[in-house]
Symmetry: C2
Amino acid sequence: MTDPLTDSAGVPPSDTPKRSDARRNQAAILAAAGRVFARSGVNAPVREVAAEAGVGMGTLYRHFPTRADLVVALYRHQVEECAEAALALLEQAESPFAALLAWVHQFVDFLGTKHGLGAVWQGDDAGFSALHQLFLDRLVPALAELFAAARASGELVADVRPYELLRAVGDLVAWAPDDPDYDVRRTVTLLVTGLRHELPTPRPPAPDPTSPPR
Amino acid sequence: MTDPLTDSAGVPPSDTPKRSDARRNQAAILAAAGRVFARSGVNAPVREVAAEAGVGMGTLYRHFPTRADLVVALYRHQVEECAEAALALLEQAESPFAALLAWVHQFVDFLGTKHGLGAVWQGDDAGFSALHQLFLDRLVPALAELFAAARASGELVADVRPYELLRAVGDLVAWAPDDPDYDVRRTVTLLVTGLRHELPTPRPPAPDPTSPPR
DNA sequence: TCCTCAATAGGAACAACGCTCCGCTTCTCG
DNA sequence: CGAGAAGCGGAGCGTTGTTCCTATTGAGGA
C-alpha cells in the first residue's frame, strides 16, 4: 500500500502556486495526521494533530477546514487503488460474482484498518460531503462495473443498486471494532449472498405511515 | 405502543424505598428526556434534559450516570414488546421465514424512529454495556426462537447466529438518516434473504493479514 | 408537633474539544 | 533591499460532559 506519509500531499504541484512554507506545513500536517490517526483514531483531537505537526490551530484549519478534508487527503490514494482493483479482480476471479465478493471484502479490509473511519465515512453532519463524495465518485462506478458483469452472468439477480450495497457495507464496517463474537466479514458475505435472489416484495409488512411508496 | 412518558419510571415501586422527591425527580427527568430526545435526538445535550426537567446537573447524574442509562429506562418497554412480538409473528405469518423477516422489519422500524439511537445502541465506549446488554438479553433470545423455527422449516440455511444478524441490522439502521436514495429496509431484506443460502467459504479472499489491498 | 440528620438537590466549576479571529512573521517579487 | 501580501500561531470563545461541595428537605423518632 502506498504510504501517504511519504508520497503525501495529494496536491498536484501544478495547481499550487502557494508559498513554500505553506506547502511545507501542509505536508507536515498530513504526516502528523497519519501518525495521530493511526495512534488515536480519526477522531483524535485536532489540537493533537496540530501539536504533532508543530503548527498552530489556525494553520491546520486553513489547510483543512474540516476533519474530513484531512482524512480525504490522507486516504485518497487508497480509495483510488481500491477502485482500480475492480477490473483486475474481474479478470482473475473465476466468476464475476466471485470478483464482486472479493472486491467487497477488499473494501472491508480497507475500511477496517482505519478504526473510527466509519464516523467520517457516514458523515455525522457537515464533513459529510467530502469523504462521502469521494467514495461515491470513485467506488460506486467501480462497483457498478462488477455489478454489470455479475448480472450478465446471471449470478446477480436482486434489484439492488451499487450505491445501496456500498453504503450498507460501509455502515456495517463502520462499527465493527474489537468484538471477538462478531466478524463483519461474515455479515458482508451474507449480504452479498443475498444478491443471488430476487428481493421479496418491496415492502414486506408495509405499515404505511405518511410516506407514499416509491 | 405504550408511552414511556406516561407510564414512565421503569422503577418497580417495591425496590424503591427512595425519598418522595427523588422519585418525583426521576420521573420528571424521564419525561423531559422523552421530549428532548424526540426533539433533538438521543445525543441532545445533557444540560438540555436537566433544564427541561427543571432539575440540576447533579440530580440528573445521580439518577442516570450515563446517557445510556437514560435511554434504557426510556425504551425498555418497547424493547420488551419487540421481543414478545416474535411469538405472535410466528403464529400469524405464513411461514417461519416470513415471520423472521417481518420481525426484523419491526425491529428496524423501532430503531428507526429514534434517530441517533444507533450511536447509543452500538455503544461508542462506556455507555456500551447498558443498552447493548438490554438488547442482547431480550432480543437475541427472541430472534433465536425465530431462527430455530425457520431452520426447522428448512428456509434458513446459512450458518449465522442470531446475534450476528441482530447486530448487523442494528449497525445498518444506526445510520440511516434522511437519505432519499437509500432505504435501509431494502438492505435489511437483502441481508435476511442471504440467510437462505449456505455461506460461501468462511474466509473468501483473506490470506494475507499484513497487506490489505493488492 | 417539632427536631434531627442522612439522603437529595442544585449548580458552580473544571476539563476537553471544535472553531474563529487577529496581530505578528516570513516569503516573494520587483 | 524593501514593501505588500500570504501565511502563521495561539489566545480565546462557546459548547458539552462530568465532578464536587454546600444548602435543602423529607421522614421517622421524641
